[in-house]
Subunit: 306 residues, 2 copies
């Protein structure tokens, strides 16, 4: 099944203890699409500026990603500059230039309208909702958000949550959204807001999926680990890559059973673990399905008793 | 196989968001011994003061714990007062009175000398080493330590590490001991100091065991989760209870295979998860092996794909 993703395609300048990269291709939709492309067809809705050229285009086309929904606008692409010098788990933002992204109005190509899977990456909840409503055929809808929307655009965000099957956010965002510091209680409060599943990403400790009580039988809380990595080169995009692996795997499966969701959690962790091994999307551009499945086996060994 | 544990038996005054308890029975050796007592025979070496009376004694004897190595001294028992009001993951210490523990000289009853399992809880490394040398028959020796010994008593601690099979410490202690902020590199550096296994406790995210490269074949890095808990009443003793479950299970098994160590990690997490559900040792005093094995099954469901 094809996935449509709406979100940012951007240029990032990143500094980590391993070095610095100027203006590498980034953005949530980019990481998500690359990660998901190893599992299924991916279609992107985004906007880029005149600085988005042939090399960037090739990153998408090489992975067979449908770019018909990537609008070219006059001006520059979304730009972000950040560093992880003191703490690899948390980016320090030095500069954000919305540029053409500031007036982004998602346009959905007709060819995308049969997508049964829809991912709303971290953008203005008003836009997330508009895309969701314009694609009523989507039968599994997942989304992300961030502290800024939780704090200052709560009403719009709550509308989005009502239409989500799966929300993927991190610990801090979960606690902030629920107003509760206990993760389990916070998860339950978030599930009461609409989504029937909540995936909480714990960074280097993996991720946990919580289900609404009234969800399908047999779906229990499940925790996927992250791989203990000797070298984290650049954490940017790990969460979006997790979402891409998670959702891409789901879209590739004939049935969405509780076991499918557990495996999807593992594939999410697998894709996140690759992303952080190189700067930007470097590692995600050149994987093979064999490498992915070998790492999946490593994750199984890391966590399974037998 | 019997385990001998040396460490503190104390009184703790604890304040958490769930309430306050005055002078409840605590100490690393207490939590360890109670947790391990559900798996095997446990013998304690410690010192207590005149405030240690019949009710405290009963906590040990009710669980069949051998107290012949608990010396009664003139004065008061070790006392600690702390709170977890802002952060359930980190205690804020308000008061520490060493009392009779300040001049503790471990005395090993002859009846303990055939213990094949020895646990050196978090005490002065000089004493840890003395006990280890006095019990040469011990074939599996595990130990704990803390930031204070790592920073200010490094030379003594390094001597202890040379004689350890398993070191159990937390993330921060691992990074501090190794002087490296990457957990995998830090773990390798710690294993170079002597122990052939390092168990790193991650609090609410579980624990990871790292093995020395030259360790038995098939022993790979393994991560046990912690249970996502709706109510953490009191985190005191969770790490010592983990150690008790881990080591107690090992001592109860006929052979120490890699699979045994993986299951021991799960039992460690299981015992830690019980401890935090009540104040002090309340929950650990009244468990059944059925409750323990049911929770073990929950941990398996939480992490296993099939």
């Amino acid at each position: 099944m094809a996935i449509t993703v709406v979100g940012s395609v951007a240029f990032d300048t990143i500094e980590t203890p391993a070095g610095r990269r100027e203006r590498c291709l980034g953005g949530a939709a980019t990481y998500f699409a690359l990660a998901a492309s190893y599992f299924t067809d991916v279609r992107v809705i985004a906007v880029v500026g005149e600085d988005f050229g042939a090399p960037e285009e090739k990153v998408f086309t090489s992975r067979g990603i449908d770019m018909r929904g990537i609008e070219r606008a006059t001006g520059k692409s979304f730009f972000w500059e950040g560093s992880y010098l003191e703490n690899l788990n948390e980016a320090k933002t030095h500069n954000t230039e919305l540029n053409v992204f500031g007036s982004f109005q998602p346009k959905i190509p007709d060819a995308y309208r049969d997508s049964e899977f829809l991912f709303l990456a971290n953008i203005d909840p008003v836009l997330q909702r508009r895309v969701r409503e314009a694609m009523p055929q989507a039968r599994l809808v997942a989304g992300d958000t961030m502290n800024y929307w939780i704090k200052d655009h709560r009403a719009s965000l709550l509308e989005v949550l009502k239409g989500l099957d799966v929300l993927l956010i991190n610990d801090t965002e979960t606690r902030m959204l629920a107003g509760n510091s206990n993760l389990v209680k916070a998860a339950r409060a978030v599930l009461d807001l609409g989504p029937r599943m909540l995936v909480v990403k714990h960074g280097e400790y993996g991720a946990t999926v919580f289900h609404r009580a009234d969800h399908e039988a047999g779906a229990k809380t499940f925790r996927a680990p992250a791989l203990p990595l000797e070298e984290v080169i650049d954490p940017t995009g790990a969460g979006d890559s997790f979402a891409g692996g998670f959702f891409g795997y789901l879209a590739s499966q004939p049935a969405l059973t509780p076991a499918t969701f557990r495996r999807a959690m593992f594939y999410g962790s697998v894709m996140g673990s690759f992303t952080v091994e190189r700067f930007g999307t470097e590692r995600l551009q050149l994987l093979s399905r064999d490498e992915i499945d070998n790492r999946f086996a490593l994750f199984r060994e890391l966590t399974h008793l037998d």
